[in-house]
């Protein structure tokens, strides 16, 4: 251990758990992944992350969540960075802080269950960089966590299975204590149990009660709290959880987050210290330095913030989590439906109740949101998605509290069937969680090698089996353009061409500065000739740009 009052990646998971049990106070985990996903539509670029990495590393966070959830897929699609490369860079820049990943159980970083060998490969490869695995299942169906959890145990990394939290019918403390019992009975007590309050639900008193109930049943179990500040009230919940003995609480930087994502670390620390609760290892100055830098970076990401500014106490009704909320609004905006968003939210409330009152978290949140959207556009359950059919067939696991009404089964399961089978026949013949056969990874590797016309790494294979189409696009991009993450965010998100004389300067991974100077731009038909001074040598590139429709 390099410093007495903080954990380091060099410690074993048992040493870390022991340290947490012995050390009084509350540890903090910075969740940039969720800040990026909830408040900036997953757009925070690696350059920004790396710029503040030295400050964050010396702040003394317990963990730093930078990967998982939608981020893996969107890193490939929108940031053109290999998630493994991002992790390698973060690991290098933050050698003293545990890296945390959030993982959707059997669904890993995707939207559907994966075969065991894909899960094992993914956990093994990501564990080269990831120290803490925060696992959850959107139906709280604990068997869905087991394969991934066992894979994590084999790597010796920290396991943090989560209970997804919500309110309303069925969501009692007894239910959640029962879930904790189920988890502990399968995975033991050498874990950190997470409470995942993704939709910012419940009052501080409600959260305090829940923590108290779990601790009463398992007094020595380490508990972490992951909340969102969507309603502006998470500081209260975080503080209540801390007072009841939660050991780790997730936070954001005040320079960045604090709306749909986590509440700011500094405010939380001030509350804790006023109440005499220590925050082991935390240093304030680097926390301030981080946010001073992030405040200057924030302007690059303003256009990705929610079209509805400010807190949203109506989350208590629609229950969409921070990440899903901003992405759902983006989707509605692209579809030209922003004006009708309130209709979709109202429908979402209905749909959630009708479909079992489960947790709105991936992939459940997407299923419910797209069902609500479809119901508004095409009529109620008139055009059910395949994912909704899979949900009703129990492919993801059983409904936690009650089954949907029969008419919904009928509309959804009988839709598009050519065999004339009735919904109860379909349920009788097809329902249940499927045993997935192992993926033939050898032939998948050959497939990918044929696509790319080169040999591929295990990490590339891992991405390919989860996101076949988008990963091929990404690999081709990377073969062509290399380390695009080196470009500063204002270049990456550029709107409009660059005026002559513009200088783009940035350091490479080794710290060497490079310059790209715009010399001229010449349009000729559908071609654009861009002349540049690239590290002081002259280059002209010709790009064919498709004509705009109607132009």
């Amino acid at each position: 251990m390099s410093e007495r009052n903080r954990v380091t990646p060099q410690m074993s998971s048992l040493e870390i758990l022991d340290f947490l049990r012995r050390t009084p106070g509350v540890f903090l985990t910075n969740n940039e992944r969720d800040v990026s996903q909830s408040d900036f539509r997953c757009r925070i670029m690696p350059q920004t992350t790396l710029k503040v990495a030295p400050y964050r590393d010396s702040t003394g966070f317990f963990g730093f969540e930078i990967i998982g959830g939608a981020t893996v897929h969107l890193d490939l699609m929108n940031k053109q960075i290999n998630p493994f490369e991002k992790l390698r860079l973060v690991r290098k820049a933050m050698p003293n802080t545990l890296i945390q990943a959030v993982c959707r159980g059997r669904n890993l970083f995707g939207y559907r269950p994966y075969p065991d060998n894909v899960i094992n490969l993914t956990v093994e490869l990501f564990s080269k960089y990831v120290d803490i695995w925060r696992l959850y299942d959107f139906l709280n169906h604990v068997p869905n966590l087991v394969t991934t959890a066992e894979a994590v145990k084999r790597t010796g990394k920290l396991l943090m299975p989560n209970i997804c939290f919500s309110t309303g019918y069925g969501h009692t403390d007894d239910y959640y204590v029962g879930k904790a019992e189920e988890i502990v009975s399968i995975l033991g007590e050498d874990i950190i149990l997470g409470i995942k309050n993704h939709s910012a639900l419940g009052s501080p008193a409600r959260i305090a009660g829940l923590v108290r109930a779990i601790r009463k049943r398992f007094p020595d179990l380490l508990i972490a709290y992951h909340g969102h500040n969507t309603d502006g009230n998470d500081l209260g919940r975080m503080f209540a959880a801390a007072q009841e003995g939660v050991k780790i609480v997730e936070v954001s930087d005040h320079g960045f987050g604090g709306i749909y994502s986590q509440a700011p670390a500094l405010s939380f620390i001030q509350n804790l210290h006023d109440d005499g609760i220590p925050t082991p290892g935390i240093k304030i100055q680097p926390l301030l330095d981080t946010s001073d830098t992030l405040r200057r970076e924030r302007r690059y990401y303003e256009k990705f913030t929610s079209p509805f500014r400010g807190f949203d106490p109506t989350v208590k009704r629609h229950k969409l989590p921070g990440g899903a909320l901003s992405l759902a609004l983006e989707q509605a905006e692209k579809a030209g439906l922003l004006e009708r968003a309130h209709e979709v939210f109202s429908e979402l409330i209905e749909v959630r109740k009708e479909l079992g009152n489960f947790w709105l978290v991936t992939p459940g949140s997407q299923i419910l949101w797209s069902t609500a959207l479809s119901n508004v556009l095409h009529g109620r359950y008139e055009k059910p998605s395949d994912d909704l059919k899979r949900l009703l067939l129990g492919r993801y696991g059983p409904f936690p509290f009650y089954d949907p009404r029969e008419w919904i089964f009928e509309k959804v399961l009988e839709s598009g069937r050519s065999d004339g089978k009735k919904w109860h026949e379909i349920l009788a013949e097809e329902a249940g969680v499927l045993e997935l056969p192992d993926d033939d990874l050898k032939s998948r590797r050959l497939q990918l090698e044929r696509h790319l016309k080169r040999s591929v790494t295990d990490e590339e294979l891992c991405m390919y089996v989860q996101f076949p189409i988008d990963s091929i696009e990404f690999f081709r991009f990377a073969d062509r353009f290399g380390q695009a993450w080196l470009l500063p965010p204002d270049v990456w998100f550029r709107e409009g061409g660059f005026p002559d004389g513009t200088r783009i300067a940035f350091p490479d991974e080794k710290g060497r500065t490079h310059h790209i100077d715009m010399v001229s731009t010449r349009h000729s038909g559908d071609s654009v000739h861009t002349s540049l001074l690239v590290d002081y040598h002259f280059q002209t590139y010709t790009t064919k740009v498709p004509k705009k429709k109607g132009a």
């Binding site: 929108n78 353009f481 709107e495 490479d508 731009t521 690239v534 040598h537």
Partner: protein
């Protein structure tokens, strides 16, 4: 000394010659064909004159070149290498036109240009020669002589064109059937390439080392040698990497150099030349041929001796004595030269003409470049594919190899395929590093062709910036 000199060549050697001439205060004249009008040697000369539409034919047209020299009032012509450099008619016509030909007299070129005559002269002077025949007669008589030679010396046997050179017109037969076939093919190829179908046979040596000695001879009877070079790394008899010295045992090196001087004297040699030898695996050496011109690889000798060979050539041609005596010549360190060409090693070294989009040359201590290209230059498909000669110096062999590796890493050429990535493989090859190579090196190291060619990372990013600029947004950001 001359006031003006015409360089009857193009590319890097033309520039190389102009540099020495200009240092001597001599004005230089470049010639060019219309198809070569963007070549950089034109820009480096004090004057330039177009000698025809090209391609290639005008650089070989003696009358046009002599006329160009006369019309620009040049007093001397330097032929460089290739083109007319070893054409005795050119040397002769220059002299007849009152121009000084910077090279040996016509008779020396004639004698040394004929492999058979050269061998006879050298044998008479007591030089060890590879066993060989005289010119093979046509028909049964020639076939009989070939069979008898094969019987006596055994295979492999080389079939060589009398007028060949630079690795051209050579075939290696491993059995009688091949020998008969190669004699027939060799004749027709030699007729087409050199206008002379005469061939002869030589005993082939197994994986010999190719060593040559640079000589300089003036009109005052002085002949000196500038030491040895090893040119073993060849592809199909074309040299790729050359170095000086040849790293022979001192005794062998001294004997070879003395033999080369004896050969020069025996042939009444004048000006700069190279005596080539093959050394077998028992350190026996055999006379191979004399090249009566400046060699591509002369730079390695210049680097380790400090002597400007082209400067000496010009002085000798002007009637001045050599500026150095044998006792003044010392050898210090190691030099290695690579021929950087626009060829695709992965595609059988096919020439790859095109526009040089990026040209960033290396520099620093111990780095010498003899180049003739520039960024934006379109390499014409009509001429040889040489872009630049990279010569590095090291106090030791290992230092030279390290420097070579460093300079290759910082030598950036994009737009055309080049031999740079292949050389990068070679400088990291343990056999090369340990000087464990002979003339079979390229053939026996095919794995060196297994490399990835990539643009420098910054250029890849620049390409992306250009796309963002062209679109007015980043098409890859999920916008």
């Amino acid at each position: 000394m001359f006031k003006k000199l015409l360089v009857a060549n193009r590319g890097e050697i033309a520039i190389r010659i102009m540099r020495s001439a200009q240092e001597l205060g001599i004005r230089t004249v470049a010639i060019y064909e219309e198809t070569d009008k963007t070549a950089s040697h034109i820009m480096r000369a004090d004057e330039a004159i177009c000698i025809g539409t090209g391609p290639r034919k005008d650089y070989l047209d003696i009358d046009r070149i002599i006329h160009a020299a006369q019309s620009t009032r040049a007093e001397a012509i330097h032929p460089g290498y290739g083109f007319l450099a070893e054409n005795p008619q050119f040397s002769k016509q220059c002299t007849e036109a009152g121009l000084v030909f910077i090279g040996p007299p016509p008779q020396v070129i004639i004698d040394m240009g004929s492999k058979v005559i050269a061998r006879r002269i050298m044998e008479e002077a007591g030089l060890p020669s590879i066993p060989g025949t005289s010119v093979l007669e046509h028909g049964e008589q020639g076939e009989g002589a070939a069979a008898a030679f094969a019987e006596k010396h055994r295979f492999p046997i080389m079939v060589k064109a009398v007028a060949g050179g630079g690795g051209r017109g050579i075939r290696v037969a491993q059995n009688m059937e091949e020998l008969r076939r190669f004699i027939a093919i060799g004749r027709s190829e030699a007729k087409m390439a050199f206008g002379n179908d005469q061939v002869y046979l030589e005993k082939g040596l197994t994986n010999p080392r190719h060593v040559e000695v640079q000589i300089l001879a003036d009109m005052h009877g002085q002949v000196v040698h500038l030491g040895t070079r090893n040119c073993s790394i060849q592809r199909r008899h074309q040299k790729m990497i050359e170095m000086a010295p040849a790293f022979l045992p001192d005794d062998l090196s001294n004997r070879i150099c003395e033999t080369a001087v004896r050969a020069a004297r025996a042939s009444n040699y004048l000006n700069a030349g190279t005596v080539e030898f093959l050394i077998d695996q028992d350190d026996n050496f055999y006379f191979l041929e004399v090249n009566t011109r400046i060699q591509v690889e002369h730079t390695v000798t210049e680097v380790i001796t400090g002597i400007d060979i082209v400067r000496e050539q010009i002085r000798v041609a002007a009637g001045e004595p050599l500026s150095i005596e044998q006792k003044d010549i010392t050898f210090r360190g190691t030099a290695i030269e690579l021929r950087i060409t626009a060829e695709d090693p992965k595609n059988n070294f096919m020439p790859d003409p095109g526009v040089i989009e990026l040209y960033q040359s290396p520099g620093g201590h111990g780095t010498r470049l003899d180049g003739a290209v520039y960024q934006g230059y379109e390499i014409p498909r009509y001429y040889d594919s040489m872009l630049s000669k990279l010569t590095v110096y090291g106090f030791t062999w290992n230092e030279a190899v390290d420097r070579l590796r460093r300079t290759l890493d910082s030598f950036l050429i994009a737009g055309v395929k080049t031999t740079i990535p292949y050389y990068k493989q070679i400088v990291n090859d343990p056999d090369f590093i340990n000087r464990n190579f002979d003339t079979s090196y390229i053939e026996t190291h095919p794995h060196l062709l297994d490399y990835q060619e990539e643009l420098p990372p910054i250029d890849k990013l620049a390409k992306l910036v250009a796309e963002i600029n062209a679109y007015g947004y980043n098409p890859y950001s999920g916008r």
